[in-house]
Amino acid sequence: MRWPSTCAKLSDKGRPGEGDATVDARFWLIQTFNGVSYGALLFLVGSGLSLIFGVMRIVNLSHGSYFLLGGYVALSVIWATGSWLLAIPVAVLTVALIGLVMERVFLRPLGFDPLRQVLLTVGFAFLFQQAALDIWTGNPFDITPPAALRRIVVIDGLHLPLYRIFMIGVALAIGLALWLIMEKTRLGATIRATVDDAQMARGVGIDTSFISMLIFALGALLAALGGVIGGAFLGVYPGLDFEMLPIAFAVVIIGGMGSLGGAAIGALIVGLADNFGKALFPEVSYFTLYAPMALILAVRPTGLFGRE
């Protein structure tokens, strides 16, 4: 029961008489729109991953699971209450709580051993996978947004789904909120201090352990938000977690780990590269996504906008 038109496309009518040039220009416009709106979703997932890495140096391989769990919890809320609006806060807070417990009980006692941290997060990803199978079965679902968001806006023959515009709006709002918190509040200043030099931050009396817990929960929350929002056009199904994970990493790596602005740029690049790649060179489309990621890492290990 997927609702129609989750991608922008050309109007079917009114084609004849138009020159090839306009059709061509519109193809680019539409692909750009699809790419930017996909990038908006990727920003939600990537910014959380980037924050977690920046503050804790943890490569969180259960980030895709948070994304998927967000979608699943939202589905349960929708089935129980029928309210999509209620589903968003419940889902993101539930997953944030899961992240918080994972950080406190398992990751923190492990100390700073990157390999063991990575492997532990994978172990949890497997556990979450099984839990999701048990609770929500293996069937694929869709999250249907309210009718008001399912409309299609027609601008000059371009059919633009309102939902994709909404996604861009959400990403902008979240991005702005994060930026304000990071740059304008005392809490943000302590987070930035922890990213730059955790040891020094502890030295001047910042509770870096508390910051870590907070950031891990916030990262999980953002991933879950992505899962709820993205559930409308990606669907919610087993395996989505490990499909989303490498893409989120591509975003973070291209942008630079620990940098919000970097995550935004990375999300935009990956969103556009994914769309144009699939449209223009379908046979090598994923290659065009991951090869730049590897090259950027090789040349500038901290990403385009990362600091070290």
């Binding site: 490569v59 996978q129 290659f287 590897a294």
Partner: protein, 343 residues
């Protein structure tokens, strides 16, 4: 580790492999299949262990080398009917060369990175290979993968499960021997030095980049070999074989068995495949067991399952030390009490 200790361990491994060679063929077909799979995959895990346990490089893209060997085998077999007779040995050589060549290319990008960044870049490189396997339909069959027509036949028929088991076991034993020799050589010692402290090795005048690069290429070659065997074991090659979770599997198996032990790779692979392919037929919650085993081992047994005997020995010595300390304490107490009583 003393010489005698090392020799005892080598004999233990030889004995274990002999037992496997004698017992497995007489068990049921499912066990033979499972053992063959574990042995083929364990070569990949051992190749990763050369990087992880001996050089200190945790790669999250090792499945790429299995992929190149497997796809090479499948494409040659289906398109050119190549590698189904005596030319199977050529395919083995080509698979290893392919893995080595890919590693030589990827290594140029990856080796400079350290720690978490090495994890990330190998993840990205592995995803490049997955992307091609998944999308390059005309070459790789896309999502459906490639079905292999038959197993090679040259004097012996590899379609026979027991024969094939022996062949894979042979390849495993030779790989183990070669990798063991490499890690015991001066080159392998330098790798361990890099793992412990790269800067010091640099100061001592070692070209650490070249050492790591060569280790990466050797690992790639054995990854390719594992791919050739895996293709014939499974009978199908698909993007599943190069997807991120396969690389993660290899890494977890290496850690589960015990990094830096080589043979631990076989233990890790056996445990995981047993849970995934046998336990999964019995209970539906097998993945909890798998995830639980991973989490527990990482939390409480960083040295993997292979470190259990050492752990027990350590516990015993600490217990006996504790006991003798207690005895000493009570003795000295009674001594001092008699002394003070006397005074």
């Amino acid at each position: 580790m003393s010489m005698a200790d090392a020799r005892a361990k080598v004999w233990a491994v030889v004995a274990a492999l002999t037992v496997i060679a004698l017992v497995v063929p007489h068990s049921n077909p499912f066990v033979i299949l499972l053992a063959t799979r574990a042995l083929a995959f364990a070569i990949l895990v051992m190749s990763l262990d050369l990087l992880l346990g001996f050089t200190g490089l945790a790669s999250l893209g090792q499945a790429a080398y299995l992929g190149i060997g497997a796809y090479l085998t499948a494409i040659l077999a289906t398109r050119y009917q190549f590698g189904l007779g005596y030319d199977f040995w050529l395919v083995v050589a080509l698979g290893m060369l392919g893995g080595a060549a890919l590693a030589a290319m990827f290594g140029l990008l990856a080796i400079r990175a350290t720690g978490v960044y090495f994890l990330m870049i190998t993840l990205a490189l592995g995803q490049c290979v997955w992307g091609l396997a998944y999308r390059w339909n005309s070459l790789t069959g896309g999502d459906n993968g490639i079905d292999l027509p038959q197993r090679p036949k040259f004097g012996i028929d590899l379609a026979n499960a027991v024969t094939f088991f022996y062949v894979v076991l042979g390849f495993f034993a030779i790989s183990l021997l070669i990798l063991y020799t490499v890690t015991r050589s001066p080159f392998g010692r330098s790798l361990a030095g890099i793992r412990e402290r790269e800067l010091r090795m640099k100061i001592l005048g070692y070209n650490t980049w070249l050492h790591k690069y060569l280790a990466f290429i050797i690992a790639g070659a054995f990854g390719g070999l594992s791919g050739v065997l895996w293709a014939h074991t499974a009978g199908i090659v698909s993007p599943e074989n190069v997807v991120l979770t396969t690389s993660v599997d290899a890494l977890l198996m290496a850690v589960l068995g015990g990094p830096g032990t080589l043979i631990g790779g076989l233990i890790g692979a056996s445990v995981v495949l047993f849970i995934r392919e046998y336990l999964s037929t019995l209970v539906h919650w097998w993945q909890y067991v798998l995830g639980g085993v991973y989490v527990l081992v990482i939390l409480y047994l960083p040295g993997g399952l292979m470190s259990i005997p050492a752990r027990i020995r350590q516990w015993r010595t600490s217990q006996s030390a504790l006991a003798s300390a207690r005895r000493l304490a009570t003795e000295s107490q009674s001594l001092s009490s008699t002394a003070s009583g006397g005074g």
